[in-house]
Symmetry: C2
Subunit: 370 residues, 2 copies
C-alpha cells in the first residue's frame, strides 16, 4: 500500500482521492478523519454507473410486488410522511482492498471508503406497512435508476438497473430508512438524489442510491449484485454455496499515522482511528506498535451506538531507537470476538476486516551535530 502518485479530485475542496473517474468512485483520505460525522464533501462515493439526473417533479417511488396495496409515491408525498434520523456508518465492501496480498482486481481502495453520517427519511417499515407487505414475501428488492452493463463475468449482456435485495426480517427493522437527507441537507446527486435506501449495519452496496422501486418478492432474489458481484462463499455441510454479502464485519482502522509516515523518536504521538461493526458494536480497542507482539488498550472517544463508528485514540511514546515500526489496531465486539489476523478468501476481494498493518519510520529529522 502506498499513497504515492494518487490523484485528487480538485473539484471537491476536501480533495477526495480518485479511484475511478467514470463512473465516479472517490475515496476519503483517511488521515483526514476528524469529526464524528463525516462531512458530506469528505464522504466516499461509490458508483456502479453514471449518476442519473432525476427531476423530482417526475420522480416516483414504486412499492409493489408481494404487497396488497401497491404504491407510487411522489417526492413530495414521501417528504410529507413522518420522518426520522439515523446515524449510520457506511463502508464499501471493498474498502481496504489495496492491503490484499496477492493484489487483486477492482478499485484499489485504501482505508477511506467508509464514513459516518446522519440520514433523514421515512422508515422502510412505515412504507411497507402502508403498502401491505404480504406474509409470503421473503425479501424486498431495491432498484436504482442507475443502469449499465456490469463489468465482471458472469454478467448479463444488456444494460440492467442496479438492484439489491434485503431480507424482510431486516427490512422491517426500525433502523432501515428510505432517506432523502444526508447531514441535514438534501442528498447530493453522487449520494443518490433524490432518494436512497440506508441499511445500517450492512455494507454500502445495500444502501441503494437513486432508489425508484421497492419490490417485495416471494423467492430470494438472485440478481447480478447478489451472485456474481457482492457475493461470498459460505459452507453448508462442507459444500461452498454462494450467498450475498450483507452485514459489515467488525473492523478498526488507523487514520494517523498513515503508511510510511515519519515520526520523531522519543515523543508522545497520538495514534487515532475508528472502529465499527455490523449488528454489534466495537466494545474494546487495542493497539500494537510492534507488529502484534504486544498490545495495549486504546481509548474510545465516542459512546457505543449500534450502526455508528467509534473514534479512538492511543498515546504512543515513540521509541528512542530509530527504525521501522508496524502499528496495528484490533477491535473486539461485545461478545469478545476479535478481528481476524488474516483475510478470509471465501470473501474474495471483499470484507477486508483483518488486521491492517501501518508501517511507520521513526527517525530524527534534525541535522546531526557536527
Amino acid at each position: 500500500m502506498s499513497s504515492v502518485g494518487i490523484e485528487r479530485d480538485h473539484s471537491s475542496p476536501a480533495g477526495l482521492i480518485i479511484r475511478q473517474k467514470e463512473p465516479t468512485n472517490l475515496e476519503m483520505p483517511f488521515d483526514q478523519l476528524g469529526s464524528y460525522l463525516t462531512p458530506t464533501e469528505l464522504f466516499y462515493i461509490r458508483s456502479h454507473f453514471q449518476a442519473p439526473q432525476i427531476d423530482t417533479s417526475n420522480y416516483r417511488l414504486r412499492i409493489d410486488g408481494a404487497v396488497t396495496r401497491p404504491l407510487a409515491l411522489s417526492y413530495e408525498e414521501l417528504r410529507k410522511m413522518p420522518s426520522e434520523t439515523r446515524i449510520a456508518t457506511l463502508e464499501c465492501a471493498g474498502n481496504g482492498r489495496v492491503f490484499l496480498v496477492p493484489q487483486v482486481r477492482g478499485a484499489q481502495w485504501e482505508l477511506g471508503a467508509v464514513g459516518n453520517a446522519e440520514w433523514r427519511g421515512v422508515p422502510l417499515r412505515a412504507l411497507l406497512e402502508r403498502a401491505g407487505l404480504e406474509d409470503a414475501a421473503c425479501e424486498v428488492v431495491f432498484e436504482g435508476a442507475d443502469h449499465g452493463v456490469p463489468a465482471e463475468e458472469p454478467k448479463p449482456p444488456l444494460p440492467i438497473s442496479y438492484a439489491r435485495s434485503l431480507s424482510c426480517a431486516k427490512a422491517l427493522q426500525p433502523e432501515v430508512l428510505i432517506a432523502y437527507e444526508m447531514n441535514g441537507r438534501d442528498l447530493s446527486r453522487d449520494h443518490g438524489f433524490p432518494v436512497r435506501a440506508i441499511v445500517p449495519g450492512h455494507y454500502g452496496m445495500a444502501s441503494v442510491k437513486w432508489l425508484t422501486r421497492i419490490q417485495a418478492v416471494r423467492q430470494p432474489f438472485q440478481g447480478y449484485w447478489q451472485t456474481s458481484d457482492y457475493g461470498y462463499w459460505d459452507f453448508l455441510d462442507g459444500k461452498p454455496v454462494r450467498r450475498p454479502l450483507t452485514e459489515m464485519k467488525l473492523k478498526s482502522a488507523i487514520a494517523r499515522p498513515s503508511v510510511y509516515e515519519t515520526l520523531l523518536p522519543d515523543r508522545m504521538y497520538t495514534v487515532f482511528g475508528a472502529a465499527w461493526a455490523g449488528e454489534t458494536v466495537a466494545a474494546e480497542i487495542a493497539v500494537s506498535t510492534d507488529g502484534g507482539k504486544t498490545w495495549a488498550e486504546a481509548q474510545f472517544l465516542d459512546p457505543a451506538h449500534r450502526y455508528a463508528w467509534r473514534r479512538w485514540k492511543f498515546d504512543w511514546p515513540t521509541p528512542k531507537e530509530p527504525g521501522r515500526y508496524t502499528l496495528l489496531a484490533r477491535a473486539k465486539d461485545a461478545d469478545g470476538a476479535a478481528q481476524p489476523d488474516e483475510h478470509d478468501w471465501n470473501y474474495g476481494t471483499y470484507v477486508i476486516s483483518h488486521l491492517l498493518p501501518i508501517e511507520v519510520i521513526v527517525e530524527d529529522l534534525a541535522c546531526p551535530e557536527t
Copy 2:
C-alpha cells in the same frame, strides 16, 4: 471455426480431439457420426478435475440429508438392486462454443461434445424411496469424488468437490438413473467409474461422474457449478436473475460435410447430421444450402424417442456452379418451435443452440482440359 492444427488423442483408436490434456477434455470428431449409439471410444469426455481412481471395495454411495433413512450403499449392494437401461443423449453445455462471435474463453468445442449412449443403473427414484425422501426436500445434490479449485471467478479459494443439484420434481422422474454401465460395459474411468448420475434431457453437467453422495436439501443449492459456472441470466419482472442451467435446448448439427470441405459440383451429396432436445423431441428437420434463404425438408433416420437424438439425412444435388455455399440445419420440436437464428447471450458461453453455419466449397477437382 477451423479444424486446422487440431491435436488428436492417439491413445484412443478413434482419435478424439484433445481440447485439454489435464484435466481430460476430449471431443468426438463430429464428421465421424455413424451409429445411433455412439461407441464409448468415440464419446466425448468432459472433466473438471483429474479423474479420481476409485476402488470399488471401498466405494460407498451415501444418500443423506433430508431423508428419513440415510443410506451408504456399497458398489455390490447397488448392483444387486433392480436395474434398468435408458438411451440418452448427453451434450456438454458448451458444445459449439467455437461458433460464437466474438470468440469467448473456455474449451473451444466444435460440434462433437455430444453423444448418445445406453446406460444401465438403478432409477434414482428407487434409491430416494428407499432412503425416505422428506416432503420438505426441494432438491438433491449430486457430489462427485473429483475435486479441485475451479478456474473462473467468483470461486472459492480452496479445493471443492464437483457438485450439482437437481430439483426433486426431476429427480423423481423414471428416466433419471444412478448408472454403472455405458453401452453394455462397466463405466470407464473417464466416464465416471464406478458410478455416475445420468439425467436425460439435461446438459451433461447434471450427470455427475464418480458419484459418491446424493444429499437431499431443503433450500435450493447455490454451489459453484450452479451460480458462477453453468448458470445463465433469466428475467424476472424485467430484472436479471441467476439460475442454474438444466434442460438441453432443441438443436440440430450437421456432421457431414464438415466446415470448408470441398464437394464436387453436380453430384448427389448426402448431408448427414443429428437433432436432439431436452424434455421434448425434434419433430421436424429442414436443411438450407443457401445460407438460410430457402429450406427443404430432411428425413429422420431414427424414431422420435424422448431423451435420444435422431439422426437425419438430406440428399443434396450439388450446384453446377463452383463457389462457396453455406449449409444450415434447423430442427423444430413437437410444438413447432424452431431453433433460434442467433445465440442468446443471456446464456453466456453456454447453450449454443442457434443455427450453426457449415461453409463448403464446391469445386471441380479434375484438371481442366487443355
